[in-house]
Symmetry: C2
Subunit: 376 residues, 2 copies
């Protein structure tokens, strides 16, 4: 089977290398690159050449960013070519449009690498859904923020120092906002809602990152036997669904609390299989490349993931309700004391919790918030 | 697709129920049951009727035990019918013979449910192997012993009390030997070696259970920041492999140490994907039934797992070398003090550690041993 790779950065090189060294029966026949970087006879800077090549069955998009990735994916699907992508931003933004386009031509959208890097999360969710409903999912989906929190706990260091260290190690971007403000996890949560619940997810789900988390917060929660992780969560029931991205305070003896370094851990709850958890490298050239090549091999073996978002689940925030702790100098109406400098509000939806957080941040920009996991 | 179910106990009923309620395109057309229990028109007590029915493509063996399961599986494979089984004892004992027989007729042996219950372990290992070598695997593969150790830690109770409680809850058999002496994990380790390394595994790998573990051992190791779990392990390198089943002392902040109740957690290390971990219910009617139905659906979708054990890896115990702690009143030659009442021997293979354990047990039958995980 012949495929084309769009973009020859870290991930594109990883895909090319894994296929060359480890896979038979698949050939990277064309590579889309910038005009001044055409160093290989397979390379072209003209996407139309790839689109017009009928021998190419699958296009592997490794460019990142919204444009031109969005246009190229739409064009490939319209031309009946299936698309493998690790680009969570473009998939989260346009998944409905991609799914509709794919269904007009019978092409497939394969997004394993867009959530959880090398972890077989998307294919496992699809497999579970052959038998079960996925009732809910939640997980550590961002390695950078897990690295930061883990290092803060283990080194007793504060946020800014650890962020700087993560940037030096290449675990965090120079502009870390997509990671630490939860945008990256929001994209992965939106994609997971689509795959797990077969429904088009709201784009503006409540999203709170860990930018204001301090060493002191971890110490205070630690004394209560709690650790903090940034989680993406989704739940469905009775024709409705809810989803959110927020810091969650979990028991220190939970698996989530013990995920080290930049690893990810994503869980689901299925009707008959019960709880399943999947752990691994959420990013990196080889793990992400591996996930994309797995999608290519699945397609070659006849797997045809089909989403139509026909469930039409209703957005129902009350399905995701927790107690929330706030560390803020602002007044929080209705709150009870929780720990030194922290108060708790009982039974908020994630939407209400986010609104409360935003009001408190207007008074005290250093405000921190976390949902209390129900196991605590 | 028509299938037959052999045995209508807990697991057989689970498979029948899941297919009836949740799956289309698959029909449980025949059920093998004892002559005095034929309560359903699909039932027969004559296996030859099922063997001779050309419309049956897959036989789902849910009988347990070695015979007649072994004979029926061989006959089904010889007749070109693929076999799905959760029976780890029969698969571990006869996997070489089954694989040879399957390869003569093109039938498949599907063993997802034999390791890790509802956890998609076997299919994930196969998927990883499409691209990577599985360099090693290890895991909590027995829910009963995990339940016992977890309850001992959390309740501060001793082994016998917790075992009795587990028996009352149905988590442990009246004769608990297969679980607490590591036989069940040995079977699952032998199967995992076959699937992960494509090699026929030694049947008498070093196997030590947790029968002699005491609350005091957990307290002493706990003071060193260690927890104990019964692990099955396998490793391959440079044309050789090793495997063992033994208690392992792991850091209390490892994921393994925090696996609660009767859950399982199994890990592998792949060349490009890196470490992956899979967590879920390792037993039970619905999770095990789910795994068997997943195998049926995979087969229906064209998955044809093929093992030929052609690697011919050499048994090389030195590939699995650790430091071992012993709690014994026997003299252990070459040992250094480790903790109150415990000594440590450095750099033993699992085979040597087991021999040392057996010698110590001759003097002190209450001797306990654990490998020290390399992360500690």
């Amino acid at each position: 089977m012949k495929i084309a790779v769009l973009g020859y950065g870290t991930v594109g090189k990883g895909v090319d290398r894994i296929i060359r060294e480890r896979v038979s029966g698949v050939e990277v026949a064309r590579i889309l690159e910038l005009p001044d970087r055409l160093t290989d006879e397979r390379m072209t800077s003209n996407f139309k050449e790839i689109l017009g090549d009928d021998s190419i069955e699958v296009v592997v998009e490794c460019m990142g960013g919204l444009e031109p990735a969005h246009t190229f994916i739409m064009d490939a699907l319209a031309a009946g070519k299936s698309v493998v992508t690790s680009n969570k931003a473009v998939v989260a933004a346009y998944i409905d449009e991609f799914v509709r386009q794919a269904n007009t031509t019978g092409a497939c959208l394969l997004v394993e690498a867009s959530v959880g890097g090398g972890i077989p999360w998307i294919a496992s969710v699809e497999k579970v859904r052959r038998i079960d409903e996925v009732k809910s999912f939640y997980g550590i989906m961002n390695g950078t923020t897990n690295y930061i929190v883990d290092a803060m706990v283990k080194q007793g260091a504060d946020f800014d120092d650890v962020l700087r260290e993560a940037q030096e190690l290449g675990y965090a971007e120079r502009d870390p906002s997509a990671d630490i403000d939860g945008i990256d996890v929001r994209n992965k949560t939106i994609i997971s809602v689509g795959v797990a619940f077969n429904t088009a997810c709201e784009k503006d789900i409540p999203t709170t990152g860990i930018r204001t988390l301090t060493k002191r917060d971890l110490d205070v929660l630690g004394e209560k036997g709690l650790s903090v992780k940034l989680l993406g969560r989704g739940v469905q029931a009775d024709g409705g669904y809810a989803a959110a991205v927020e810091p969650v305070a979990l028991p220190v003896r939970s698996l989530e609390a013990n995920v080290p370094s930049n690893f990810n851990l994503i869980s689901l709850d299925g009707t008959t299989v019960g709880p399943l958890k999947f752990y691994g490298q959420g990013a990196g050239m080889l793990p992400t490349g591996n996930a994309m090549v797995q999608d290519v091999l699945d397609f070659a073996a006849g797997r045809r993931p089909h989403y139509d978002f026909s469930r039409g689940l209703e957005w129902r925030p009350e399905l995701l309700t927790s107690d929330y702790v706030y560390r803020t100098t602002a007044e929080v109406e209705g709150a009870e004391p929780f720990a030194e400098g922290m108060v708790v509000l009982r039974g908020l939806t994630a939407v209400q919790a986010r609104q409360t957080f935003e009001r408190a941040q207007e008074v005290d920009p250093s405000t921190f918030m976390a949902a209390l996991s129900q196991e605590d």
